[in-house]
Symmetry: C2
Subunit: 286 residues, 2 copies
C-alpha cells in the first residue's frame, strides 16, 4: 500500500476545487441564479474580471442547451464587491450547433437598490463535437521552464500587491517581462506566464475565462501604474484544454487617448491555442 | 465662375451620402427605430455584417447620451434580408465618460413572426474628448499606392462575385494578397486594402463599423471558398478618422475545429490606428 499522499500532492479535480466552489451558481428560478462572490479572487479590493466572467459563464452553461462558451463578450459596468450577487440569463437563440444567451450580474447597494455590474452576450457550442483539423499560423509563446519563472512568493524581488487571488493561482511570470516589478519596465506591452490553479485543478473551458484576465496588466510593462479597469472583454474558447499548466501571453500594441487594448492567448500543454481574448481598458496617465 | 463639376468629382459629405441614407433609422418611440435594410450592401444575397453594425450603431448613437461607439460587441443570430427591420435599444448604464447600451435588430418572417437577426452590447463615449497621447507599438500596414492596388473592376483578373456592395465601396486590394482571385491563394491568412466609400464620403466612427468587415474574408487566401458567416464581431473605435482613404489589414492566425478568428486594423491618412476588431467566424471545410 502506498503511503497516504501529503496535502500538497493532492490535486483538486474539476468540479471539486476552489474555483468550482467559488464560481458556483444556484438556480432559484428559470434564468435566475444566486451566487456569492468570493473575497478570495480579489486584487487589492477589486473582484477579478476573469473570475466574474467564469461565474456568468457557469450560469449560461446551465441556462443554454450547449455546454461550452465559444465566444463571450462582457461589458463591465460598475465594480463588483465580494458578497451575494444574482445572475439573470436570457436565451436569445437556440440553434443546432450554437446557442446564444445573455446574462447580467447584479448586486444590491446599501439602500437595497439593484446595481448591474456586468452584462454579457455569449454563444455556446460543444467543443467535443468540433472536427480535429488545425491549420494555424500561431506559435506558442516562448517561455523559460516553469521553475525558472517567478511568482508572487519568489524573492529577492517579490511582486507587489499581495492580493487574495495570488493564493488561488499558480502564476509564474517570465522574468523577461518582470521589469516593472523591479522598477524597470521594458516599455513593451508584453507579459508571459505559466498559469494554473493553485489547488492543481486542471483547466476547462470555464477556467479559461479566468485565465485570459489573470495576469498583471501589460500596462505595468509600459511604465504605467495603478488601476486599469476593463471596459469590455471578449474571449473565444477554441479548444478543450489538455491537462497540465497553461501558457498565457498578453500583448498591448496601441495605448492612445487614455485607452488600450490587451490581447491574450492561452496555450495548453499539447501546444494548442485554446483561447484568445481582447479587452478594451482605461488607463490613468500619471 | 468655375464650370459645374462633373459627377465623379462631387464628393458626398458626412450626413448626405449613400452610407448615411442606407443606415438611417427613424425613431418611432423611445428605444424603437424603424429602418430599411438596403439591397445595395449585399454580397451575393447576404446583407454585409459591417453595414448591419453601422445601422445598429446609428440607433445607439441616438439612444445613448454619448455620440461615438468605443466598443461594440455583436452576436449574429440569423441572416438578415434586405427590407424593413426594427432596432430596439436599451440604455444599460449612463456614466460620465462612457455609457453602455444594448440593441437588437429584428425582422419579420413570412408569417409575421419576429425573428431576431443581431444582438449588440456597446459602450459609447466622446472621441473628441480624449487626450491626444499616443504610445503605440503598432505600425500601419505596408501597402502599394492606391493606384497600384486592384478592385473588382480591374482586369485582367476581375474579382469574382459581382455583389451590390462593391458599387458602394472604394476597395483596392494589395495585389500581394490577391492570389485567391487567380486561383493561387497564398496560404497566409492576410488581406490588405485601401478602403473608402464610392461616393467620396469621408470616414467617421460609424463608417469604421463597416470598414472592419468589408474586405473579402481572409479564408480565401487560406484556400477556402464559400461563405464564412460571422458568429461574433467586436470592434474598438480608437480615434476619429482623418479625411482621406483608410488602410485596412485583416489577419487570421488560427483556423481550427471549423472556426477561425479574423482581426482587422484600420488606419487613417494621418497614420493613426483608428479601429481594431476581431470576429469569430465559421468555415466550411471542403
Amino acid at each position: 500500500m502506498p503511503e497516504a499522499v501529503s496535502a500538497p500532492d493532492v490535486r483538486a479535480t474539476i468540479g471539486a476545487s476552489e474555483f468550482d466552489r467559488d464560481t458556483a451558481v444556484v438556480r432559484r428560478a428559470p434564468g435566475v441564479y444566486d451566487t456569492d462572490l468570493s473575497a478570495g479572487w480579489t486584487i487589492i479590493n477589486a473582484v477579478n474580471g476573469g473570475y466574474l466572467l467564469a461565474v456568468l459563464g457557469r450560469a449560461l452553461a446551465d441556462a443554454l442547451p450547449h455546454p461550452d462558451p465559444f465566444t463571450v463578450s462582457a461589458h463591465y459596468l460598475t465594480a463588483s464587491r465580494p458578497g451575494p450577487a444574482v445572475v439573470r440569463t436570457e436565451t436569445v437563440r437556440t440553434g443546432r450547433t450554437l446557442s446564444t444567451g445573455q446574462a447580467s450580474l447584479v448586486q444590491y447597494d446599501d439602500d437595497g437598490e439593484e446595481v448591474e455590474r456586468i452584462r454579457v452576450l455569449a454563444s455556446y457550442g460543444d467543443l467535443a463535437g468540433l472536427p480535429d483539423d488545425v491549420r494555424t499560423a500561431a506559435k506558442p509563446p516562448e517561455l523559460p521552464p516553469l521553475e525558472h519563472c517567478l511568482g508572487p512568493d519568489d524573492g529577492p524581488a517579490p511582486i507587489e500587491g499581495g492580493s487574495a487571488i495570488t493564493d488561488r493561482l499558480l502564476l509564474k511570470l517570465d522574468p523577461a517581462t518582470l521589469g516593472w516589478a523591479l522598477g524597470q519596465p521594458s516599455g513593451k506591452g508584453e507579459m508571459r506566464a505559466w498559469f494554473g490553479l493553485a489547488d492543481g485543478r486542471d483547466a476547462d473551458p470555464l477556467s479559461l475565462l479566468l485565465a485570459v484576465d489573470a495576469l498583471p496588466p501589460t500596462a505595468f510593462e509600459l511604465g504605467l501604474s495603478g488601476w486599469v479597469p476593463t471596459v469590455e472583454l471578449t474571449v473565444h474558447v477554441r479548444c478543450r484544454p489538455a491537462p497540465g499548466p497553461l501558457r498565457v501571453a498578453i500583448t498591448t500594441r496601441n495605448l492612445a487617448g487614455g485607452f488600450l487594448e490587451e490581447d491574450a492567448e492561452v496555450w495548453d500543454s499539447a501546444d494548442r491555442l485554446v483561447a484568445q481574448s481582447r479587452q478594451l481598458a482605461r488607463v490613468r496617465l500619471g
